[in-house]
């Protein structure tokens, strides 16, 4: 039985190319998309810095709607049970030796 402050949501989270995949079953009712992304990056062993040490910016794509969720959106309002989120970084290829 879910705590009143926790929602039962089997969210499927994956990286861009589908090589890393995880389920999140419970989310705090007041949690945001940004909090989810920041919490999952280390758990899914996703890089959080680029080659120069600068933080990578990830956006969460909600597959069902085909849109990127805003970091400030409340998860309880944005997602539904069984939704698939894809964590997508802005990342550079640069021809500097």
């Amino acid at each position: 039985m879910a705590n009143a402050a926790t929602l039962e949501m089997q969210l499927h989270i994956s990286d861009v190319s589908g090589q890393k995949s995880a389920y999140v079953e419970k989310i705090p009712a007041d949690s945001t998309v940004a909090e989810l992304v920041q919490d999952l990056l280390p758990q899914m062993h996703l890089s959080d810095n680029d080659s120069t040490g600068r933080p990578l910016v990830y956006q969460a794509l909600l597959e069902r709607e085909g849109r990127h969720l805003h970091g400030s959106e409340k998860l309880a309002e944005a997602v539904e049970v069984g939704d698939h989120l894809v964590l997508q970084p802005n990342i550079d290829a640069a021809a500097r030796p």
Binding site: S17, V24, L36, S51, E63, H68, I91, D92, A94, A95
Partner: protein, 350 residues
């Protein structure tokens, strides 16, 4: 999750054999784990969705024993009481970290730029961590990852293809159609002042008779939404979303196999003549630190690869191809389906 019970350290030695000290190593064993797991799948030891735990153990130098390593072993547990598989790695795995350490020593004046050095790796048993785990608002559980292997006969593909670049035994075969290479070059030629790129999609195929898995690229999807400069290309969240939309529209159950981008030699080697550009290290097997970091972040699968189009000038281009080998990104060969005779493009292909 990879189980590690040792603390690793690296010692560099200068050209005279003098020790430059012992530096602790934070080792990223994940590529090695990917390599071991994928090799086991390739050779039919495990199913494509096998996600059993991995364990890393040092392999000691025979003559001296601990703490000096000659390499390490990654064990992939079997299911239930099933037999485990293992894959051995040499200390070459640590070469990139040795290079980084050498840069640091050059900055400190303890090594001269260009000076030869050697390195060796040691491992010391560690006590289990006693610090409490970070309290997290969300708990992620590993989900199975299915490689979605399709059937295929490797021999059929090899008969229809021509090899390009240097092939190394043990590399997973990769087949690219000539039109994919042409599209990548045409894209670069159409934008000679800004880097271009795209995503390579297709299928992984398994040939049980050959105990092999191979990749068939079916399309090059341009990196729409990418932010381009003369020496950089930013793949954005919109880029990835566009690719996913295209895959959905195509409806062929293709997967992300790799990526491509162009290096503009007219920008990188503006002052050099064509003969020099052809053989410049920036045009032959050059994969920058940023390129490597992007590949590590987005394409960590042992089966995933990268194509670089080296645009020597508006009419001439060569290719470099990279993939994972024993957990490291290396230049590698590929096969071209429907190949033209010449690799270099002369003039406008359209």
């Amino acid at each position: 999750m990879t189980e590690i019970t040792y603390q690793y350290a690296m010692e560099l030695t200068d050209a005279r054999g003098a020790s430059l000290g012992l530096a602790p190593l934070q080792v990223d064993f994940e590529p090695a784990g990917e390599s071991a797991r994928f090799d086991a799948i390739r050779h039919g030891e495990f199913s494509p969705g096998h996600r059993a735990p991995l364990a890393v153990e040092p392999l000691w130098v025979e003559q001296t024993g601990p703490p000096h390593l000659q390499g390490f072993r990654v064990r992939v547990a079997g299911l239930g009481s099933g037999e485990a598989s293992y894959s051995d790695f040499t200390t070459v795995y640590f070469a990139d970290q040795a290079r980084q350490e050498s840069y640091r020593l050059v900055d400190q004046g303890r090594l001269t730029a260009g000076e030869r050095y050697t390195y060796r790796v040691t491992a010391f048993p560690t006590e289990p961590a006693t610090t409490p785990e970070t309290v997290r608002r969300f708990q992620a559980q590993d989900a199975p990852r299915d490689l979605a292997l399709r059937r295929g006969t490797l021999g059929d593909f090899l008969r229809r293809a021509e090899p390009r670049q240097t092939h190394t035994e043990g590399d997973m075969p990769v087949f690219l159609p000539q039109h994919v290479l042409d599209e990548a070059v045409a894209q670069a030629q159409a934008s000679p002042e800004h880097e271009t790129g795209g995503i390579l999609v297709g299928h992984l195929r398994q040939d049980p008779g050959a105990s092999e898995v191979f990749a068939e690229v079916t399309a090059h999807i341009p990196a729409v939404g990418a932010e381009a400069g003369p020496t950089s290309l930013r793949f954005t969240a919109d880029t990835w979303t566009h690719v996913r939309s295209v895959l959905k529209l195509r409806g062929r159950e293709e997967c992300f196999l790799g990526w491509s981008h162009a290096h503009l030699m007219e920008v990188l080697c503006a002052k050099c003549p064509m003969e020099s550009r052809r053989v410049c290290p920036l045009a032959v097997g050059f994969f920058s630190p940023s390129d490597r970091a992007l590949h590590r972040t987005v394409f960590p699968g042992a089966h995933q690869f990268a194509l670089v189009v080296n645009l020597l000038d508006r009419d001439h281009a060569t290719y470099s191809f990279f993939g994972w080998r024993k957990g490291r990104l290396e230049t590698r060969g590929f096969h071209v389906l429907g190949a033209r005779k010449e690799v270099e493009i002369h003039g406008d292909p359209s």
